[in-house]
Every structure is written in C-alpha cells, then in structure tokens.
C-alpha cells in the first residue's frame, strides 16, 4: 500500500499491560513516564480525558489542516465566482455589478466549509495511518471494556524485566510481553 511507506515498522518486542479501569491506566501511564519509558502508547475503548497529557503526546495538527483548507476553500470559491461572473462570461443580471460581493458570500462560505470539512476527515485518516487492515489487533477488548498500556522496544536502554517490574505494581489485570 502507498501509505505503508509512511508507517514505522512494528517493534519486535513490546510489553502490554491490561487494565479494566481508566484511572489505573492513567496512573500507570504517569508512572511509566516518570521512569523514563519512551514511545509509550495506550489503547482505550473511548478517549480517556488526560491520557495524552499523561503520555506526553503532542497536540494534534489536524486543526491546522481545517483552518488552512477552510480558508483556501473560501478563497477558491470566491475567485471562481468572480472569474466566471465578471471575466469569463460577464453578463448583466438585473443591473447588478459583475462582482456582486454580497451575493457571492453564501457560495464562498459553503466552499470553505466543504473543503475544510472533507480535508479534516482526510487529515484524520492520514494522521492515524488508516486504512490499516494489516497491523495485528493486540486485544479484541480494546474496543470493548479493556484498557491497555503499550511499551514498545525503543532501543538499547530497553529492559524487559525492568518494565515488567514497573508495570506489575500498577494494578494491571495482566502484564505480558508480545513478540511479533
């Protein structure tokens, strides 16, 4: 797939801790961060408030796409209206000026929303690396009632035993090592 070239290859090993309570996951995420574990991710059935802060994930860039694309859509719409009505086929409609700005506002606005909205969805899909039908699903209950903390192998400092030790004290239902 075209998108695969943007995707990082999955790590060979990872530690996965499973929780049945979002608060325990939040505490575990904070603890893992405190111990300097890198590249951590979490899997949750719904967006848990405060989790991305606990994991230190950067704010999403999707809103910038909305802003830029919304403004571009509006600009393109207005340009097109002016070009068709005043330059390519200037025609007198009821004595109105060729560039009838107030009358052009609704279509300009709709073009902005159309481009902004569709590109927001496109940006979301791109940002999440979707469609992604190949990566393994680590636990089927992540979309149901299970919360998972995921610590992938991140380099020479990665110590399986140490991570297992840290996460075993966080009230996890299960802590396991995954090998791909």
């Amino acid at each position: 797939m075209f998108l695969d070239r943007f995707r990082k290859p999955p790590p060979a090993r990872a530690v996965l801790a499973l929780y049945d309570d979002p608060d325990r996951l939040l505490n575990a995420a904070a603890l893992a961060k405190e111990h300097g574990l890198e590249g951590i991710d979490a899997f949750t059935p719904y967006p848990v408030h405060g989790l991305s802060e606990a994991l230190g994930i950067k704010k999403s860039w999707v809103p910038y796409v909305t802003l830029v694309m919304g403004l571009s859509g509006a600009a393109l719409g207005l340009t097109f209206e002016i070009w068709t009505s005043a330059f390519d086929w200037p025609i007198n409609v009821g004595g109105k000026p060729y560039i009838s700005l107030p009358a052009f506002i609704p279509v300009m606005f709709e073009c902005g929303v159309l481009l902004g909205g569709t590109m927001t969805l496109a940006a979301l899909i791109l940002a999440c690396g979707l469609p992604n039908l190949k990566s393994p699903i680590l636990d089927r209950n992540f979309t149901n009632d299970r919360f998972g903390l995921y610590v992938p192998e991140y380099g020479p400092g990665w110590n399986e035993e140490r991570i297992l030790r840290i996460l075993s004290r966080t009230g996890a239902v299960d802590v396991k090592v995954i090998r791909v």
Binding site: S52, T66, T84, W89, F104, G117, A123
Partner: protein
C-alpha cells in the same frame, strides 16, 4: 469530552445507570444488529419499501408526462414539492444541532441520541434533495446546476439564491456524512472485534482498521471538534439560504428580513419533533430504554417548547410588521393567510406549532411517552403546513386579481408526500439494522463519569446512618 459539564452542585439524574459495565454498553447496542430482524421490523420495512417504490414510479411518470400532473398552475407554481423540500431540509437540522452544537456546548446528554439524530439528518437531506430535482421538470438536465466547463460556454448565475441552495444542500449532505462517519469509526471497530466471518470483514473495512490507540484518539477528538465547529455555522447557513429563496424575491409574504432566523428556529423545532418521534419508537423496539432515558426525551421536549415559542413569536412579528408597514399588498397577504381560502392551513399551523407545544410547560407531560409522541407528530404536521402556508398562500393571490386561483393537489401530489415519508423511514429502518444506533464510545465516557459520581455520592448517602 471533558468532565467539566458535570457540576456536582446541581443534583442531576444520571444519564445512564452507573451499575452498567463498559461491556454491557457494547452488548446492548450491538444486540439488535446481531440477531435476525423481528416481524415488526420486516412489516415496517415492507411498507416503507412499497411507499418508496410508488414514490419512484410517480417520479418516473412525472418525468415522462411533465410536472403538470401535479396541481401546480398559474399563479401557484411552487407547492407540495418545494414545501416538502423545505420541510425535509428542516428536519435534518436537529440532527446537526444535537451532534455539533450540543457537542460544542458540552451537553453530554447528546451522546445517547446523536448517532440516530445524525442518521436522520442524512436521510432527511437525501429526501429533501430529490424535490428540487424532480421539480425541475426536465430532471435529466439537473447537472446544469453545477458550474462545469461546457461547450455552451455558460456559467451558472452565482447571484441566484437557487444556486446558493445547490451549494448549501450538497455541502450540508457531504459534511453531515463526514461527521457521521467520523463518529462511526470507533464503533465499527467495536463491532468488528466482537464478530466473526464476513461481518468481521465488512465492519473491519468500515472501521478502516481503527484500534483505539491514544495517539489516534488525540487526532480523532480534535478532528471531531473541528467538524463540529464547521457544522455549526453550516447548519445555520443552510436554512438561511433556503429562506433566501423566498426572502430575495419581491413577493409579499416572502420578502422579509425575518426569514433566516425564523426558518432556522422552525427547522430546529420540527427536527427535534422528528427525533422524538423516532426515538420513542426506536428505544421501545430495540430495548434501548436504559440509554435513551426519559431525561433525554424531556430535554428534547424543552427544546421543542422553546423553539416552538420562537416560531410563534416570529408569526406574531411577521403579522404585526405586515399590518404596521402601511403596505397594502403586504397587509392583504397576511390577512388573506388568516381569513382567506387557505385559512384552514394557517390555523392548523398556529394550533400545532404554537398552542400544542405549550403542554410541555408541565413536567408530567414532558415525561409522558404518549403525550410527547402525539405532540411530536402534531408539531411536524404543523411545520409542514407552515411551509405550505408560506409558499401557497403567498402565491395564490398575487398582484393581479384576474390571476387569482385556488391550489388543489392531485393524487400525484399526495403520492410524493407519502412517498417521501416512505423513502425517509426506509433508510432509517435500514440504519437501525446495520449500524450501531447509539454511539458506544461516547456513551462509555459518560458512563465512567456516572460511575465516579455514584462512587462520590455513595459515602455521603450513608452518613445519616452513622449519625443515628
């Protein structure tokens, strides 16, 4: 989705039973999709499919014969078709209001109803979009409405509100689908993970391989917020643009500046009534009483009451300004609405939209399923007649008395009205069967807040026992 909205100072009824588990939510919402459809669903689907069939047969015959088969004539050139167009577009507005505006205002009670309300929006806009197309008469030239480079070297007239309509309605449909689909992605993943075989494959593709990673949720939540932010002005613009179709003309009764807000309030009013109608049935048939509670329905009934009064206020303002303006044509048009040959339509509108919703001042009636079901249907009858009154009574007596006539619908007019309802409900029934009717992911976040506040309440409730 923050927890800010749950103020501990106000004793609120929980939106969901805190004893439920996260797994219960998935189980309860997915159950109707995983069992064979019941007899009731099949019968309803059969009826609506038949109505849809006759709808398209009527459209086919009308494309063959011309729009003269309707009761349209001089001077009433717009009647049931444009009335239904405005009616169905209006129905859609409540869905976007629930999903976008209530999201921005952090009204968490929307989580149980936003999915079905958004579905309603999409199907209503689809139904609405058919009407201007068939009203064209030569439907096969509908693509002329789109500005595309052509060998006639012509462009559309961007100064015409009818072209604004084309842009507004198509944008509205597209963005509503984007917004709806964004909300559905995590729920499709939930369905994928609990099913096997071909269902797993289909829901897997629909979910695009969503796996609930926090890095993805981070993008997801921001994107959802952006779409809500875009949909909010969009929904206000759509019915404003629809009202411009009338307001920018010079016809007394149409040429008023009050139209955009008046139309938007009316759209939200009728849309909420349709949501109540649909949800009263949906929660019963699919056993969703624990998710769509009386609290949800009561909140919607309050909105119906408020928007109903806004609409009533607009009627009064419109009438007062017409009388006060000193313009004899304007004054005549409005007196003709209330006392002329279409007075029956005007008074149906006033009764259903202004008088009937007043019953919701009483909590007992706001929480009564039978009362709200009847009121919601009456409101929609009233709102259909509101558009009919605006369109037909303004047209049937124009500036030249020799032109005056009465509009009489033919059997084909009735056929499109009934057919459009069949078309709309058929899609809604299909939606209930194959898509999760309640947003599982969003309900879970509300459920967790409910669990936490229940845990906070519990020790407090025990205190009196310790004292005694």
């Amino acid at each position: 989705m923050s927890d800010v909205a749950l103020s501990p100072a106000l004793p609120t009824e929980p939106l969901i039973d805190p004893r439920k588990s996260f797994a219960d939510v998935n189980q309860d919402v997915s159950a109707p999709l995983e069992r064979k459809p019941g007899m009731l669903w099949k019968v309803c689907f059969g009826i609506t499919a038949l109505l849809t069939l006759q709808f398209f047969m009527e459209i086919g015959y009308q494309m063959y014969k011309g729009i003269g088969i309707w009761g349209l004539n001089h001077p009433v050139g717009w009647a049931v078709d444009i009335t239904s167009f405005v009616f169905w577009i209006g129905i859609g507005h409540a869905g976007t209001l629930i999903s976008a505006i209530l999201h921005l205002f952090r009204q968490r009670w929307r989580t149980a109803i936003n999915r079905s309300a958004e579905a309603m929006t999409i199907f209503a806009v689809m139904t609405a979009g058919l009407f201007p197309l068939i009203h064209l008469g030569r439907t096969w030239f509908a693509y002329w409405l789109v500005p595309y480079p052509n060998w006639r070297f012509l462009w559309v007239n961007f100064r015409s509100p009818l072209i604004w309509d084309v842009f507004a309605v198509t944008t509205y449909l597209t963005i509503s689908i984007c917004f709806w689909y964004t909300g559905l992605i995590p729920d499709f993943a939930s369905l994928r993970d609990r099913s096997t075989g071909w269902r797993r494959a289909i829901y897997g593709v629909l979910s695009l391989g969503w796996r609930g990673s926090e890095r993805h949720w981070q993008h997801y939540e921001r994107a959802y917020m952006m779409l809500a932010g875009l949909s909010t002005p969009l929904v206000l613009s759509v019915h404003s643009v629809v009202s411009f179709d009338f307001a920018t003309s010079l016809l007394p009764g149409w040429h008023t500046t009050i139209f955009p807000p008046y139309f938007v309030a009316g759209a939200i009013f009728s849309g909420f009534a349709m949501v109540v109608t649909l949800l009263v049935i949906l929660r019963k048939v699919f056993h969703m009483e624990e998710y769509v509670t009386l609290q949800h329905l009561e909140n919607m009934n309050k909105i119906i009451l408020v928007t109903g009064m806004m609409v009533g206020y607009a009627y009064a303002t419109e009438f007062f300004v017409a009388l006060y303006s000193g313009n004899p044509f304007e004054r005549f048009t409005f007196l003709n609405r209330a006392r002329g040959p279409f007075a029956w339509s005007y008074w149906i509108m006033v009764t259903c939209n202004v008088v009937v919703p007043q019953i919701f001042w009483f909590k007992k009636f706001r929480r009564s399923l039978a009362v709200m079901f009847v009121v919601s249907i009456l409101v929609n009858v009233g709102m259909w007649f509101e558009r009919f009154t605006i369109i037909v009574t303004s047209l049937h007596r124009d500036f030249l008395p020799p032109n005056w006539s009465y509009y009489k619908p033919t059997i084909f007019d009735y056929s499109v009205i009934v057919g459009s309802f069949g078309f709309f409900f058929m899609w809604f029934l299909l939606f209930c069967r194959f898509f999760p009717a309640i947003s599982m992911a969003e309900v879970k976040s509300v459920l967790w807040s409910a669990k936490k506040s229940a845990a906070r309440e519990a020790p407090r409730a025990k205190e009196p026992a310790h004292v005694s």
